[in-house]
């Protein structure tokens, strides 16, 4: 589905705000490649620099050092209107004095497309975002979700090489957001345009992306497929930011994973290349809880029922807390009560060994 050509090459880009000793490094040597026809997501908490990076690609922010290339051609010195990329703004930024179709036609007109050729493109884009009957409306007569679709159609109309989406779904309510996630993925497939999507919502990122770049405090933490990011987080930050994770300290020896007084588990850790102390991350759904049999010993300290599943917090015998998730496939089954003694077992590869260093090289 994704090509091998590189659409955007971010080459050791830095962004400094302010001068001299007061300068803040908002982006710290970011280097990544976005491939053609890829749904690429920049994911991170607010203030991590993801929006700044997106605005640099669009041309609204200067690059302090480094370079951004579009299909091999440097974008430095090019103003926003000289770059063949379009943006879907967080606030949509629809032109309030223009109708829906005038909004969508704007980019085409500015590119000098003939009026006769603009009409069919506008009609096609309106169909694409399922707003066929709304051509003559003005933005303020539309709901948030509809405005969102107009913003998408407007940005897609001039057939940009890359579409940039800045937290585009965050203003919508949960149900609409889920709908638009599917919708965006469909639009990306149908148009074959490279999408660069910025979000702080990890679930959104996992759902839609071909690849995700996780950012924190201006630094790139990890780039990879949703599976890579979720199953093989590069460091503690990624493991913590994406999904639920319990962090445990253990020891690898003779193919076993030891947790002091809590006992040991066989063959459950991904990286057994060397013995010794190990910082571990484990997803609550990769563990099983039982009141009989073998496993790590512990006592249930908290039970949270969440509808589709129930999450148990278990205090292991060596003092470390660990969470276990049990799906309620066959009705609400309460496996254990608070204070009850339980055993935890794990599938092969459930524990992920974290690198001690905090950043990816």
């Amino acid at each position: 589905m994704t090509g091998n050509r590189v659409a955007i090459d971010v080459d050791h880009v830095c962004k400094r705000f302010g001068h001299d000793e007061h300068a803040v490094l908002a982006l710290d040597h970011i280097a990544l490649s976005i491939r053609e026809n890829e749904f690429f997501t920049l994911l991170g908490p607010s203030g991590c620099g993801k929006t700044t990076l997106l605005r640099m690609i669009a041309g609204f922010e200067d690059v302090s050092s480094g370079d951004i290339r579009l299909y091999g051609e440097s974008l430095s010195g090019k103003l926003p209107f000289q770059r063949p990329v379009n943006t879907v703004f967080q606030s949509y930024a629809l032109f309030p004095h223009l109708t829906v179709e005038e909004n969508i036609a704007f980019g085409l007109e500015m590119r000098g497309v003939k009026a006769a050729d603009i009409k069919p493109i506008v009609a096609e884009k309106l169909e694409l975002v399922k707003l066929g009957g709304f051509a003559r409306r003005r933005p303020h007569q539309l709901s948030g979700g509809q405005q969102q679709r107009v913003a998408l159609a407007r940005a897609l109309a001039p057939s940009p090489k890359v579409l940039l989406l800045d937290e585009s779904l965050s203003a919508l309510d949960l149900k609409l957001r889920k709908e638009m996630q599917v919708e965006l993925k469909r639009l990306q497939r149908e148009t074959g345009i490279t999408f660069v999507f910025v979000t702080h919502d990890q679930e959104e990122a996992l759902t839609m992306s071909d690849r995700i770049a996780v950012m924190s405090a201006g630094k790139l933490q990890q780039v990879g497929s949703p599976e890579d990011i979720y199953d093989r987080p590069a460091n503690r930050f990624v493991a913590d930011f994406i999904g639920e994770t319990s962090f445990l300290q253990g020891r690898v020896a003779d193919g076993l994973l030891h947790f002091g007084e809590a006992g040991s588990l066989p063959g459950t850790v991904l990286d057994q290349s060397h013995d010794g102390h190990a910082a571990l991350a484990v997803r609550p759904e990769r563990l099983q809880l039982s009141t009989s049999g073998s496993g790590l010993h512990g006592v249930v300290s908290e039970v949270v029922y969440r509808g589709v599943d129930t999450v148990y917090t278990v205090q292991l015998a060596d003092g470390q807390p660990c969470r276990v998730r049990n799906t309620n496939d066959s009705g609400a089954v309460r496996l254990a009560r608070v204070g009850e003694r339980v055993q935890l077992s794990a599938q092969p590869g459930a524990f992920h060994r974290l690198q001690e260093a905090d950043h990816v090289a």
């Binding site: 609204f60 926003p80 930024a93 704007f106 980019g107 500015m110 940005a155």
Partner: protein, 262 residues
């Protein structure tokens, strides 16, 4: 008058407010009424008549002064509004060194006593060796109209989402196209409101005009002042009433433009 405004509950507030309005508007009402007086002596009512309005229409001097006033007001409005729009755009753009100072400088002419501006303008023109006439009046009016035009335009720009200009640039609009297609249509109510204010301020200016107008550049307010010196005639009342009408029309239009949402 909102119910939540507790001021109106105090005794004496309503009569005081009324007294203030009477004080403000009674003289104007008297002037308008007397402009329809049939008697030659302006302050003695003897009957209703349109005569003075007809006399005004027949008076070449008044018509010439009116024409001068309109030429200058229109010219000063166009120039001042253009300069004010450019200034407002610059002030609303990227922050720069000395921005607060320049902003203060733009508003300062509103605070400087008019007589100071008048004398300064006169000396300036004489120093340059310019002949006093319509041109000097036009230049002076343009200058003092700029802050009046600037304020509503600036206010309108402040309320404009900066993302809109970014969106236009993102959609391949260069700076001029962005201004013409997006920024200008959206600040137009402010621009028109500023233009109306500039027009009305120019139309009824007396002090500065009196100083910098040479022979043949007499405007309506300056001409009326000349008439008054020979005694108040019903003709003066009629001219004043007509100017009042124009002023009210423009102020109302300006207010309506400023209120209107685009």
């Amino acid at each position: 008058m909102q119910a939540s405004n507790t001021l109106w509950r105090f005794r004496g507030v309503t009569p005081t407010a009324m007294l203030a309005f009477v004080y403000l508007y009674l003289p104007i009402v008297v002037l308008v009424v007397l402009s329809f007086n049939a008697n030659r002596i302006a302050t003695l009512w003897t009957g209703f008549s349109f005569d003075w309005y007809l006399k005004v229409m027949d008076n070449d001097n008044i018509l010439r002064a009116t024409k001068n006033s309109l030429i200058i007001a229109c010219g000063a409005t166009v120039l001042a509004t253009s300069f004010a729009t450019m200034a407002a755009l610059a002030m609303a753009g990227k922050r720069f060194r000395g921005q607060a100072f320049i902003n203060a400088m733009l508003g300062l002419p509103l605070l400087v006593p008019e007589i100071v501006t008048a004398v300064a303008s006169l000396l300036f023109f004489l120093a340059l060796g310019l002949d006093l006439g319509l041109m000097t009046v036009l230049i002076a009016h343009t200058v003092f109209c700029i802050p009046f035009a600037y304020l509503p335009i600036r206010a309108r720009l402040e309320g404009l989402d900066p993302r809109l200009a970014e969106a236009a640039a993102d959609l391949y609009a260069g700076p001029f196209a962005t201004f013409r297609r997006v920024t200008l249509p959206l600040i137009l109510p402010g621009v028109l409101s500023g233009a109306m204010l500039a027009f009305i301020v120019s139309l009824d200016d007396f002090v500065i005009t009196f100083f910098v107008a040479g022979a043949g550049a007499t405007t309506l307010p300056v001409y009326i002042f000349g008439l008054i010196r020979m005694g108040i005639t019903p003709e003066v009342n009629a001219v004043s009433a007509l100017m009042l009408l124009v002023s009210i029309a423009f102020v109302a239009l300006s207010y309506w433009m400023g209120q209107r949402k685009s």
